[in-house]
């Protein structure tokens, strides 16, 4: 790791101010992704702001019947919360399908939203990567792309968002709450939180410099049956090739979001009008405009079959 200085922030506003003052600073919470990247010198912050002491580790009921999840709630605690298990099971299932027990004990709610891609060329500092070194090119185009995006990508970048939790958050219509360096709060619908790569794949979210995630809120429970089906190369502890987060109502209507196929959790509410008619029409609209490579075109039928399996499960 490159040398860095270290401070413990005392309040969200102070943390945001400190980060805004130093472009070379990073927040550190669980550290499970950031420290990995720092060891590989993909991330080289000169200053770390430890936000673990900010008390943002509670899950609270909201007056509207929803939940406010503190940014520092660990994946294990969120997945195991009785209210989440009962009313937002898709979120528990998504969290439990990710990483390992050790990692889930450290990884945080906010950190999971900000997880970086596992594109092999992002990780290999000898290779061109527009996300890691803007303007250097994309080695994945024409390279090894089996794991990478089939939809929402660009000529500059075909990396996927690697997370499971954010896919469930997307299907639950979560909202991200932040503190800006000026001490103001901001709310960002999860649909708008992650950016598509376009010409600037290095900019992955709409967060401004220094802006700190303080919580994620969920609206009141949506009812229905909750499903998270993750397809991967081994049965545990692997990233998704394709994942399906879905909520299905007794009349067959519902919502669906996909992981493993795009630079962000992938959902199109218009496609959900066809849920009661089965997986094929939903996927035709949800994956419209897909541009897969030879190596990852299998993801298109795989996503349709994964949703078909979910819809069959929902019928019981």
């Amino acid at each position: 790791m490159k040398p860095f200085t270290y401070e413990r922030a005392a309040s969200p506003a102070e943390a945001a101010r400190a980060a805004a003052d130093r472009p070379d600073a990073r927040f550190i919470a669980g550290g499970t992704n950031l420290l990995d990247l720092m060891k590989l010198q993909i991330e080289t912050p000169a200053h770390l702001i430890d936000v673990n002491g900010l008390g943002l580790d509670k899950i609270e009921a909201k007056p509207d019947g929803g939940l406010r999840i503190g940014a520092l709630v660990r994946n294990t605690d969120l997945a195991a919360d009785a209210r989440v298990r009962r009313d937002y099971a898709v979120l528990s299932r998504a969290l439990l399908s990710g990483a390992s027990g050790q990692l889930r004990n450290r990884a945080t709610t906010a950190g999971n939203l900000l997880q970086r891609t596992r594109c092999p060329y992002f990780y290999d500092t000898n290779m061109a990567c527009n996300k890691r070194r803007p303007g250097s090119g994309c080695s994945a185009l024409g390279g090894y792309s089996r794991q990478l995006a089939v939809v929402g990508a660009s000529e500059a970048c075909i990396a996927t968002h690697p997370g499971d939790m954010p896919v469930a958050m997307r299907v639950l219509d979560a909202t991200v709450e932040t503190m800006t360096p000026k001490g103001q709060t901001r709310t960002i619908p999860i649909a708008d939180f992650h950016r598509l790569p376009g010409d600037t794949p290095e900019i992955e979210t709409v967060l401004e410099r220094g802006e700190l995630i303080t919580s994620v809120t969920l609206p009141k429970p949506a009812g229905g049956t909750h499903h998270y089906r993750k397809v991967r190369d081994r049965a545990s502890y692997a990233f998704a090739l394709v994942s399906v987060a879905a909520i299905v109502q007794p009349d067959g209507s519902g919502r669906v979001a996909l992981g493993g196929v795009a630079p962000k959790p992938w959902r199109n509410e218009d496609a959900e009008a066809d849920m009661a008619r089965g997986a094929k029409p939903v996927m035709a609209r949800l994956l419209a405009g897909a541009k897969p490579t030879e190596e990852n075109k299998f993801k298109l039928p795989l996503a349709e079959r994964a949703l078909a399996a979910v819809l069959a499960d929902a019928k019981g």
Partner: protein, 220 residues
């Protein structure tokens, strides 16, 4: 993580790390490690670019004070700073679980956290679970069921296994738990899923599951 090509790269990295560790072991044999002075690098910043930080936490019930380069992981602080060589460095990237310790009652990868982040923390390593004369039940069960071959992953496996039984006891569900709202069962599928963050290159998995099940049975 899942691609064959990437796996090849990771495997090479892992092997290189293991060779490096073995080499260090050859210079400072394990028996002498307790009295060998710590190498200077993790204790004081080699570059002098940033000041060392003071940190105090409890390790295996004993208060410990260290002065560390902020870059020092908890794993390196335990091994190099406190000469607790039981916790192993495998991949150093959170993929193998050899570095698993119990922090404030929970298992974590000590390679993916900085020591300075744990002021006042309570850490239990394999050295704190039992002694050669009085093994922890999980240690005894690993011996009884032959839950290892080379033994390199074993301290991490045992720390993880102890915490897994506590997680099941606390009602924390897993990926294979059928009913999220019921107490998770203590079957092999649960143990295998929950232990998936601990890789054993020798493939002692079936005996590891038997050892954990044995301890769980005795507790029940």
């Amino acid at each position: 993580m899942a691609s064959p090509r990437e796996n090849d790269v990771k495997r090479r990295t892992l092997m290189a790390a293991t060779v490096a560790t073995a080499a260090v072991g050859a210079v400072a044999p394990r028996a002498g490690a307790q009295t060998t002075p710590a190498p200077p690098a993790p204790q004081a910043p080699s570059s002098g670019a940033v000041p060392a930080l003071k940190i105090s936490f409890t390790v295996n019930g004993k208060p410990r004070d260290l002065e560390l380069d902020p870059r020092t992981t908890l794993l390196d602080a335990l091994r190099e700073g406190l000469h607790l060589g039981g916790t192993k460095k495998g991949c150093d990237h959170g993929q193998c679980g050899a570095c698993t310790v119990i922090l404030d009652g929970r298992r974590i990868n000590s390679c993916l956290t900085l020591a300075v982040m744990h002021q006042g923390g309570e850490i239990t390593t394999i050295e704190g679970l039992g002694t050669p004369d009085k093994l922890h039940p999980m240690q005894a069960a690993f011996v009884k069921h032959d839950g290892y071959q080379c033994g390199y992953c074993t301290p991490g496996q045992i720390c993880s296994a102890v915490a897994v039984l506590a997680e099941i006891e606390a009602g924390i569900p897993s990926h294979v738990t059928a009913d999220l709202n019921a107490k998770p069962p203590l079957d092999d599928a649960e143990l295998r899923e929950r232990m998936s963050g601990n890789i054993c290159r020798c493939g002692a998995y079936s005996n590891i599951v038997e050892a954990i099940g044995d301890v769980a049975g005795r507790k029940a």
